[in-house]
Amino acid sequence: MSVEPVLSVHDVVKSFGAEQVLRGVSLEVPEHTVTVLIGASGSGKSTLLRCVNLLTPVDDGVIRLDGWDITDPEVDPDQVRRQIGMVFQSFNLFPHLSVLDNITLSPRKVHKADRAQAEAAGLELLARFGLADKARQYPDRLSGGQQQRVAIVRSLAVAPRLMLMDEVTSALDPVLVNEVLATVRDLKAEGMTMVIATHEMGFAAQVADEVCFLESGTIRERGAPEQVLHDPQEPATRDFLRRVHEAGRL
């Protein structure tokens, strides 16, 4: 019996108006593995993640979560999202709630945990990521790196099957990037299944089990990180990596 992948994306198509953003993308993410999506801005990485989280409906193709067809219109999107954590480029913490309330909102309101229980679990998570002293603060008092780590903890608080990370370091200065990447590496070490869109190639090489290079809405090349990042077969991949290298990001 073959093991069902946590996420399976099959031939997904998505257009915004006349612009085709995804042109038949397929992807399988087995449990406890990390798939990293690389590619220029506008190549479809973010759209793919938003499709998986049903924030954006697909035009065609099938997405399965643990074998469950979540692109079926009968499926309740809230049920799907409860099993998927998503972290955004712009953090998107709730500014009117303290760090702890940000983290316990979904456990309390969606998963119906009582406040004391949710807060104890939240504090434990914060402590694990070195943020225990920030629990009572409001997001605008935190550095960008701390805000993003809180956003990651917030997604973890509902014990997701799958984590989606959409360029989580793109809004941070280089020093803060590292603390966020260290957090993601910790998650990888704990066996979290993740799909990560990033421009940090060094980081991709460290955490990825598989790297997919997207261009114009298709996966042009995929494989082990050392192969895709260091010995790319496709001219398009080589060209992209050369430009990234010139920009000093590799």
């Binding site: 913490l93 709730f94 009117h96």
Partner: protein, 291 residues
Amino acid sequence: MSRPAPGPGTPRPPSAEELRRRGVRRRQARKRAAIAATSSVLVLGALVAVVVTSPGWPVVQQTFFDLAYGREVLPKVFDGLLLNIRLTIVASVSIAILGMALALARTSTAPALAPMRILATGYVDLFRGVPTLLVILLIGFGVPALGLAGVTSSVVILGTTAVVLTYSAYVAEVLRSGILSVHPSQGAAARSLGLSAGQTLRYVILPQGVRRVVPPLLNDFVSLLKDTGLISVLGVVDAIRAAQIESSKTFNYTPYVVAAALFLLLTIPLTRVTDRFMLRSIQRQNAQVGG
């Protein structure tokens, strides 16, 4: 030039140059305060002098600022003002509820709520477009004329209803602008945490959106307090009507001035509170942009 490097936490003593600059700043501040005080006294004094020395002033003083008469009518006007306050409290609660319902209906996207959206939009167009005084007259005199069984003919209730109907339209628009000002990424973050559309609205969108429009809402509250006086056209004895009754007995307008002073006593503190809220919310938003 061998100042010992102070450790973290021990504030460095200011340099001689900084002490000199502070002295200059203090002198500048004193000079500015003196200029402001002098010009205020001159301008206000000139205004008072123009009014007091005008040829008609003795008559005006007698008919508008008769202190003894003012003291005599104060209790009656004050009783009227209590009605204005009570109506304001009842009306503001009703307006908050109806205004929020309208705002939610107008910002809803669910297809099942399409008729609500259309009705709410029509409602807002109608009641924002018709002068408040006309709504009060139409409802205050029109509804009793219908002779419907079970419907009150109390002008206080009908007049307040008219004010509530009008103000709900304004408040709904203010609330709607607050709801729409919350960035869509906040909604996306909430939905991706598994919150339903309703939960997202209640726990994420509304708390942020409503907080942003507190200053304009307080503004509307101040003007509601004054506009409850409009229902005096229906014969309700509020502060304005009480003043009118008193002044018609003697053809002295002091009671109106008393009513105006009483309204000011209420609205000026409220306005100050509004200003402070507005300043604080601007500062907070700037802090968020900066952070």
